[in-house]
């Protein structure tokens, strides 16, 4: 490259960078040679700079030998284009101008690379550590758990402003090429400004951008990622997020906990059955209560129907108002306990759960059975291991409740049918969402 051109690039980059406190423009000089460096000191690891650049610069005396040092260092890339250089600079690289050549030293600082403990998907047994917030560390964690040469990693960027680096990880021999194709098409179709976490992708899975049931799973566990790689899934790692995205995700995955693998066969199956029972009760219970107390008490045997009615004798309004009241209270309680600082959290549960629940029954506002139903519904909801799905289930019970208010038992069954039909209608990157059959890899 001619020295004029290098000089013009030098000036042009200098003019494009806004003058800010953390930019460093430094010239290194010895008798024989001089080196211009550009970098952001907040983004760049200065000890690396010291070790890889400044020390050798003064140790290697002849200019030619230093040039060949720069050319052969693995962390140093040659110049490609001005735009790329600018992007690298903003990303934390150091730009070097040396003897009419431009080099890019990749010395970006890797903050947040400590491995975090799992907090969302906890298990009793099995690995306890999750991902970190650093892309390189996360990829390393995956490679560590999945030491296969067929593991392929592609890279792309999402977000028109954030330009977040996203890595697409999959096992080349096991992935379904149709799924991989769908995933890549999906990623290129995303139109978003700031992209920071995989959950943001959820709404893009549908054309209408309004999704209820997640067809993408987000996990913080490297062991789950490794297991899912063997079933041919595509994994996305997002820079700055301790959550990996798994695609495609079907309902079976959303109901699976990693604990199933770390338990014996029958215990695992038992826990799985328990979770499906929880799913069923948390969607159906409030609706069934309204249907059976207000519409069709004759369904129950007489003794039971009487005891339900007896428990309600002091309640001055119809059952659906009672249910709505309690459900909203429960939702408020749940929402509050997530937002509250950890120190006050237990107080909220005590006040809400014990005092309010007890007082509401004593005041004759709700029946005892109602309290049981609401808390049973909430507890069964917590059994669902993936939190996004448990939120979706929490919402879908209101559909059933609405139908049961107008149609009684018939409404509950039709609502349940509709939910199943809706789940059946969903697709996750070409795989049917509501399936219990193991996805076998096509190869």
């Amino acid at each position: 490259m001619s020295s004029n051109k290098v000089q013009s690039i030098h000036d042009s980059i200098k003019s494009k960078i806004q003058k800010s406190e953390d930019i460093v423009l430094k010239e290194l000089k010895t008798k024989e040679k001089n080196l211009d460096t550009f970098y952001f000191k907040t983004l760049t690891d200065e000890t690396q700079l010291q070790n890889f650049l400044i020390k050798p610069f003064f140790e290697i005396i002849t200019p030619d030998r230093f040039l060949s040092y720069l050319q052969s260092h693995p962390k140093i890339k040659p110049f490609e284009s001005e735009q790329q250089t600018l992007d690298e600079l903003i990303g934390g690289a150091v730009i070097l101008f040396y003897m009419d050549t431009i080099f890019i030293l990749d010395s970006r600082i890797d903050r947040n690379n400590s491995v975090l403990d799992t907090t969302v998907e906890t298990t009793i047994q099995g690995p306890q550590s999750g991902f970190s917030e650093s892309l390189g560390t996360n990829l390393g964690l995956i490679r560590h758990r999945y030491p296969e040469p067929s593991l392929q990693v592609d890279s792309t960027k999402i977000g028109s402003i954030s330009r977040t680096q996203v890595m697409i990880v999959y096992d080349k021999n096991k992935v379904d090429p149709v799924v991989l194709d769908n995933v890549k098409k999906f990623l290129s179709s995303i139109d978003i400004e700031i992209f920071q976490s995989g959950e943001q992708l959820l709404d893009f899975t549908k054309k209408s951008r309004r999704t209820l049931y997640p067809t993408i799973m987000v996990t913080e566990r490297p062991d789950r990622v490794a297991v899912n790689l063997t079933t041919g899934k595509v994994i996305l790692l997002i820079a700055g997020s301790p959550f990996a995205v798994l695609m495609p995700t079907v309902m079976k995955d959303l109901m699976a906990s990693m604990a199933d693998i770390y338990q014996t066969y029958w215990i695992g199956k038992f826990l799985l059955t328990l979770r499906y029972i929880g799913l069923f009760t948390s969607t159906m219970l409030p609706a069934v209560y309204v249907a059976l107390t207000s519409y069709n008490p004759e369904v129950f045997r007489v003794q039971l129907a009487l005891s339900v009615a007896g428990s309600r004798h002091a309640v001055p309004y119809p059952s659906f108002i009672e249910v709505l009241l309690m459900l909203i209270m429960m939702e408020l309680l749940m929402e509050a306990s997530i937002r509250l600082p950890k120190a006050i959290g237990p107080t909220a549960t005590t006040v809400g759960g014990l005092i309010l629940g007890q007082a509401a029954t004593d005041a004759g506002l709700v029946s005892n059975i109602m309290i049981i139903i609401v808390s049973l519904g909430a507890i069964s909801n917590f059994v669902i291991p993936i939190s996004i799905f448990s939120f979706a289930v929490r919402i879908s019970k209101y559909l059933l409740l609405l139908l049961s208010i107008f149609y009684g038992l018939v409404g509950v069954i039709i609502g349940f049918f509709l939910l199943i039909a809706y789940m059946v209608s969903l697709d996750s990157f070409g795989k049917p969402f509501f399936t219990f059959i193991e996805n076998k890899s096509t190869n």
Binding site: N296, F300, L403, Y407, I414, V424
Partner: protein
């Protein structure tokens, strides 16, 4: 994907209770019902087999795709609209029958139109799905309901109130010569196979003979159960007093230890989803056939128009059902259906068998 054929037939077997099949059979209990059931079984199996070998020549193609380039447009429109009318009425009759049952036994206070509206909403959601999704739903709902069906069957058979002597008495009329009506009525159990004209899209290979063997066994079991169990509960003379013999039968079964004491409610809840599904399958066929008449010029507007027709007709029908004498209508419809089936199966057989796929 062959098992879906089995499911389609099983679905029709289960719906026979709603569409008055047991009533007509019980009506002819002394006049050749048993012989008629056997003849219906033979004729049903033959028709099913013929239809399946015709469509096996066109793997993965429904009727609209097969006919697409073989017919002039006006003929095609007449053919498809005519066919889809048949499937539409098949669904409508089931729907009206079941709404009547719900109105009588579960929600007497709720106007029938309201019930119709919620059923239509659910059905319309299902019929616009792709054929593949409809059978997925079919499979899941049958899997969920299968245990209940078996449970009620088991409870009915082992009930102390089931009087085997009444059933044996009907057995003494075995050699009475058959009559047309019970043959036609009993053959309804098999007619799930006709849905193959659309669902053949999913059948990539020839339907395995194990399916036919299963269907034969299940259909005989099904027909004799739906015909003889009410007789066992209500007596050979008493059974024909009821408009819905099976519902009264299930109400006679007591579940001693269950919180739901009357099996009637389990039965009715089970049939809500079975009916929804049966109507959805029939109307899906109707909808896809109509779509077949404008296969090259698909548009959302046309689809909405078809939906509007479906919904309008159904609401009109539910408003005017009392004038129609449902039992008579269903009887005539069942007879017409039988001859329609025979005609289309033979037409397909002679026109399509020699064509290449």
């Amino acid at each position: 994907m062959n098992r879906y054929f089995l499911y389609l037939v099983i679905l029709n077997m289960l719906t026979n209770v709603i569409i008055f099949v047991p009533n007509f059979l019980i009506q002819y209990r002394y006049d050749g019902a048993i012989m008629s059931i056997l003849i219906a079984t033979i004729s049903g199996m033959i028709l099913m087999y013929l239809d399946s070998i015709v469509f096996a020549r066109f793997p993965g193609k429904g009727l609209p795709e097969i006919i697409e380039n073989r017919m002039r447009v006006p003929f095609k429109i007449i053919l498809f609209v005519g066919f889809s009318l048949f499937w539409f009425t098949a669904g409508l009759i089931t729907l009206l029958g079941y709404i009547d049952i719900l109105h009588r036994f579960i929600n007497p206070d709720l106007p029938k139109v309201w019930l119709m509206v919620i059923f239509l909403a659910a059905i319309c959601f299902v019929i616009q799905l792709s054929t593949q999704k409809v059978v997925y739903l079919l499979e899941i709902i049958l899997l969920l309901n299968g245990p209940l069906v078996i449970f009620i069957f088991f409870k009915a058979i082992t009930s102390d109130y089931l009087n085997w002597d009444s059933i044996f008495e009907i057995g003494t009329h075995f050699f009475t010569p058959p009559k047309l009506t019970p043959i036609v009525v009993a053959s309804y159990v098999f007619s799930g196979y006709t849905n193959i004209i659309i669902f053949n899209r999913l059948f990539k290979e020839k339907i395995k003979s194990i399916n036919f063997a299963l269907i034969l066994g299940l259909s005989i079991l099904n027909l004799f159960t739906s015909f003889l169990v009410p007789i066992g509960f209500h007596g050979a003379d008493g059974a024909h007093e009821y408009m819905y013999p099976w519902i009264m039968t299930s109400d006679s079964i007591r579940l001693v230890y269950s919180p739901i004491e009357r099996a009637l409610f389990i039965f009715l809840m089970l049939y809500i989803s079975i009916t929804l599904l049966s109507v959805s399958v029939h109307w899906h066929v109707a909808f896809e056939l109509i779509k077949g008449s404008y296969i090259k010029k698909q548009s959302k507007k046309k689809n909405w128009l078809v939906f509007a027709c479906f919904i309008g007709f159904s609401i009109l029908a539910v408003l005017r059902i009392d004038l129609l004498k449902p039992e008579m209508v269903i009887k005539f419809w069942l007879i017409a259906r039988y001859f329609f089936e025979i005609i289309i199966v033979f037409c397909f057989f002679f026109f399509l068998r020699r064509r290449k796929a």
